[in-house]
């Protein structure tokens, strides 16, 4: 899936939403990559307190690896997903990954100009870019505003717009906090790319808080 590419939001919103995607290439550097991926998880764990979300989509429902960095560090990951809410943590993590030279493909999904600056600052030369040209066709069928921003934070569209609306109602009733509602929505995203930090803020914006 073009996965994280079409996340909606203003430039200011997206300053708190960077996704790091690391993946082996099927049939090219697959052999022996499991150990390298475990080493990359180890590097990522150095920034654990500042991370928003992470996952490996192994799939995650069986082994219960989603949200558990300890288990992920032991798993045979083909993919690594990590969500950052600030560029400085992302930059520090990327610098360490670059220095370790794992030879595995690394993609940053986030603000283009800011990511280019980060690359220049740590001596990286980006190879390829996938630009989003937004939505077309019957765009009137899409949810609007913050609901669309929340929904597009799962690239496989697994976060139900019905649940977003339901969570907003429960927040208004006072039966759930914005933080807990964001976490509940996040459970639908198996890949661990849903930004719960941003979702909490967006839920707060569309309700009177919680």
């Amino acid at each position: 899936m073009t996965h994280t590419l079409h996340r909606r939001g203003t430039t200011d919103d997206l300053k708190e939403d960077y996704v790091l995607l690391i993946r082996i290439s099927r049939g090219i550097n697959q052999e022996g990559s499991e150990e390298k991926m475990r080493q990359i998880w180890e590097v990522i764990s150095h920034y654990e307190k500042d991370l928003v979300n992470f996952g490996n989509h192994n799939p995650n429902w069986g082994p219960g690896e989603l949200y558990d960095l300890g288990k992920l560090k032991q798993a045979d990951s083909r993919i690594i997903h990590v969500v950052f809410k600030d560029r400085e943590t992302l930059k520090a993590c990327l610098k360490e990954i670059k220095e370790r030279d794992f030879g595995i493909s690394v993609v940053v999904s986030g603000l283009y100009e800011e990511t280019r600056k980060i690359c220049a600052e740590i001596g990286l030369k980006p190879h390829t870019v996938n630009h989003s040209l937004g939505s077309h066709g019957k765009t009137q069928l899409l949810p609007e505003g913050e609901a669309l921003e929340i929904q597009t934070m799962c690239g496989h569209a697994m976060v139900s717009s019905h649940l977003i609306a339901h969570m907003a109602e429960k927040i208004e009733e006072g039966s759930i906090t914005c933080k807990a509602a964001a976490k509940k929505l996040s459970r639908m995203c198996d890949c661990g790319i849903f930004n719960t930090y941003r979702a909490e803020k967006l839920l707060n914006k569309i309700t009177s808080g919680g």
């Binding site: 899936m1 073009t2 996965h3 994280t4 590419l5 079409h6 939001g9 997206l14 993946r23 290439s25 099927r26 090219i28 550097n29 989509h57 799939p59 429902w61 670059k98 030279d101 794992f102 030879g103 595995i104 493909s105 690394v106 993609v107 940053v108 999904s109 283009y112 990511t115 690359c119 220049a120 990286l124 030369k125 980006p126 190879h127 390829t128 870019v129 996938n130 630009h131 989003s132 040209l133 939505s135 077309h136 066709g137 019957k138 765009t139 069928l141 899409l142 929904q151 597009t152 496989h156 569209a157 697994m158 976060v159 139900s160 717009s161 019905h162 649940l163 339901h166 639908m188 890949c191």
Partner: protein, 242 residues
Amino acid sequence: MIIDQETCIGCGECVFTCTVRAISLSEDKAGIDRDRCVECGNCLRIAECPTGALQQDELVYPRVWRKYFSDNQQQWPAHVRFSTGYGRGTEECKTNDRTGRFKKGQVGILVELGRPGVTASFADAEKIVRSLIKAGVEMEEKSPITALLKDKQLGLFPEELRAERVLSCIVEGKVKLEDLERTLAAVTAASKEVDTVFSLGLVTRLDDGFTSPIAPVLDRLGLQTRPNAKINLGLGRPLIED
């Protein structure tokens, strides 16, 4: 998916988990609109149906393709397993530094139909595929959508597949940079024909690490890219340089 009406207690837990609003409550029982359901499996995993009334029925062709395209915990069948085996089944730029899928002078075209929550039929996807082929786009062979085409020259799916709906699917191809303008015109024309929404992505190699060769074309057409993008940092080894 099916809901056993004998055992459903109408608790409604499954209603809010549906990605396409196919589940509703009526007379204290939950029911599924099977035409709208894309078999994503979200309800089964998230709702934790207290009586087991919510069940995955055995899916056969052509309906089973709903599940492959919509349930990202469902592994793709071996003959269309081109990427990780899960998700939407495309690789796009994520490992381009190692695979060289998109080379200098080429532009990747990625049209993702149906997302988020709108859904798309293969008939919709066919309209995009046909318009891209007419514009001279080389369809990506290692893509589930291309693999499903019955006629790769004309861009036709098997008749029985056209009405099937999926949560989303990605049409993927590439063109020479000099053909980008013509291709974007074809995508614009197709956008008026589809009965769904689609997101458009353009993949390009970066000159000297930072300059996007498609920027002048987009400027000329008055098109703007969104502020966020996916950037392959070139850390794969050995690095594909061409």
